[in-house]
Symmetry: D2
Subunit: 259 residues, 4 copies
């Protein structure tokens, strides 16, 4: 049995994710919906150098939203497009299609919209879909519990065009109770794929936890991991942290360091 997948988004990240799905043994890429009309009617598989016709490309303006998601049913939609896409695939949720969304800049209304879908199907929402990033977040939470007196700063580096602070960095700030204006430092230079560093400063020692994405394929692998996990879940809203079961933060005993 294969898990059928529909993709939203075919930009820098989206096409890398599509590539990983095409390589995967269990997932099968059925279609790709993108904003522009470029390559409409082509197959993502062919464009990415694979054999066979997989991942037919549709422009979002060319589809009949209700009929499309019924006629082209998939088990999972993976969304690496833009924050307004959530309004498009409401009908898909009605048909039981599960949703993995990696969008990092939802507005409040859009986020509510996504949560509503959780009453109809299983939805996993995470702006930080690489597994390593979730390790970084969980370990940082542990370290903060161990040394609550440590000063903490977040440094994130991305390619020059990336707007705003990274959703992941904001999430780390939120999880650690840090003011995002003050403690998230965004570096935008050249072609850096993605680097997140959490610095813990104590009077006589510094601890750094650093995650570097080497290629956007890491997003694809995270999304596939999430998709396979979500396929067995009931309706509801889930997070990547739940998917990776990084539960260790809950169980550790606390000690004091460097006071």
């Amino acid at each position: 049995m294969k898990i059928t997948v529909g993709m939203f988004g075919f930009g820098k990240a989206g096409s890398c994710v599509a590539q990983e799905i095409l390589k995967d043994d269990i997932c099968k890429l059925k279609w790709v919906i993108r904003k522009s009309k470029k390559n409409e009617g082509d197959y993502a598989s062919r464009l990415l150098g694979f054999e066979g016709d997989n991942g037919k490309i549709y422009s979002i303006d060319s589809i009949d939203k209700d009929a499309f998601f019924k006629d082209n049913y998939v088990d999972i939609i993976i969304d690496f497009s833009i924050n307004s896409a959530v309004e498009t695939y409401r009908a898909a949720a009605e048909y039981g299609t599960r949703i993995v969304s990696a969008i990092s800049n939802y507005g409040e209304a859009q986020l509510n919209h996504l949560k509503e879908l959780g009453s109809k199907t299983a939805v996993l929402y995470s702006p930080n879909i690489t597994l390593g990033i979730n390790f970084l977040i969980e370990v940082s939470k542990v370290l903060q519990r161990i040394v609550p007196e440590a000063d903490i700063e977040i440094i994130e580096e991305h390619f020059r065009e990336k707007p705003d602070a990274s959703g992941t960095a904001l999430r780390i700030a939120e999880d650690l109770g840090l003011d995002r204006e003050k403690h998230v430092n965004s570096i935008r230079v050249g072609g850096i794929v993605g680097k997140h560093e959490v610095v813990f400063g104590l009077p006589n020692q510094t601890i750094r936890i650093i995650h570097e994405s080497l290629s956007r394929a890491a997003f694809g692998q995270g999304a596939i991991y999430a998709a396979k996990w979500l396929i067995a879940k009931k309706k509801g809203i889930y997070t990547m942290e739940e998917a990776v079961k990084l539960s260790f933060a809950r169980n550790i005993k606390v000690f004091n360091i460097d006071k």
Copy 2:
């Protein structure tokens, strides 16, 4: 009540540790035993800019080992000297003095000697006495369990004169089951106090956990933490890991990343 402390070693690390003990509210530095005859009869407190006469300095060749440890009883010996010192303070263990040893290059006979002392008193042995380093070790063990397929390398940087690989780096290698010849990379330049980095490499992402000591005072704070913890323990051999109760590694669930 004060915890009385005797120090072995008054070199680069030893004198920094003495300084932290002198600042501590609960510990009281009674004496310092060193190899050379330099400053014999002086007080460590005066040499380090403190008021009062604390930490009288003795040369190891000037003391009568049996009588000394009885007449100058201390609750704890903290050893930052050399690997042969363990043979000197056997008598102290007989009188119930507890031992904190931070020596990193014991030979097998010396290590056995130290373990024997554990049948007479409480002994804590750790070549990596800073608390942050123990966090680094424990977190690395967790990450290895989560992503067993990751490649792991250890990089340690220290001041130019430091001989051999650091005891801490070797310990990390041992704990992670890595060949120390192949996977411990030692950088010796200038005046670097101490930096340990564990690099986890996956096909599309890299995770780094880095600990930097900013000053040898971190060793003193670790040693004081260990001393206070050890004072309530029964005879036996203990490790810093036990002292910091970083037990979280035992409780986490395992998942796979980036396959």
Copy 3:
């Protein structure tokens, strides 16, 4: 006018370089010679997602070496294959084809062979073809002149399968007069594209110069830069350092730091 290019090598690095050549306005990829018979007769352009038929793929065993280089004359051969390829394109040099070789592990005989070609055509040889790496090398030489008493270590990180120390790291060691066995530290983990760090240690300060390749496209851009520079040169052996004219090291005045 276009510069016609023939490529040797179509592996990880080679295909990335081919891709950059295919994107370039001035270079035209005429053929690719590879070791295996895979994709023989196909076009690199099609395999890499470009329109048009460019870069026809030949297996090295299928070509008649003398006739091939005459019948398929190119202005430049760019070699990202293996160290024995140099023996193959001797005939090309006779016809005036220029050579850019980025091979890092030539044996002595092969290196002599390459130098002989320099008596027939213009040859640029550099195992470190990215422009940034050459900056790192030149700046390191300057800093060593400024602070000759600094301790220097080289750390290089690459993907797990890369054998031996990197040619670039060895070159840096040679240029700085460092024993390569002692001072080159090779980290092999996961999918790291390529990172070189030169650490200068002084008693109270450390200076690090770090170059990270984010994608192998950097090699292609360096190779294209070298090709365009070489096209106007007379016969002889050249280096990337000459191509980038990083001549500043020769002109600076020396001062002493941190003694």
Copy 4:
């Protein structure tokens, strides 16, 4: 012959600088002027563990400014105190005492005041007195000329209490023509002595130049270097860059990278 030195400031940095002066063979610390009345009448030498009575400590409110600088003439004043101290030592300049100021946050009036002193004596002003930092600045300027299209960000890390962005980071931003609000990222955690990193980002490669101060002794060594250089200079305003004669930036030829 000795160079006699008077110090302004005896805080974290000031006392480290005093210590280096006390160790130096050519400099002789005559007095220290500080803001508080703490240790007034004591000798810096004794407080810092040296033999002999050197560096008598005065509170700034206890001295008669005109008479003091005549009666206690020194060849050089080294100022690691606060931005208002410049108003105090005007009289010293009249007597020919040279000035080395490492103050990083002068207001405009104070800076003008300092410049006026340059019409009476030789004044060297540098908020970034370590020699390595000046190397970092000069090399960054070179690299910017080589790759003008590179994106540049500055990251500076210091101990938690350090207010505002570091003077050095602002200077780098100014020298590279970068908006200081946008491109200087300040990390304030724990006890970090001082780290400055300049990141150059290109589409496929990143270059980082990093300077780390391991101890404030580096400031002292820089100040002593500056003092010895300044002693032979005529009246005027000088910079550390001039003192270290890092003139190489002027001589290099420009090439383009990674376009």
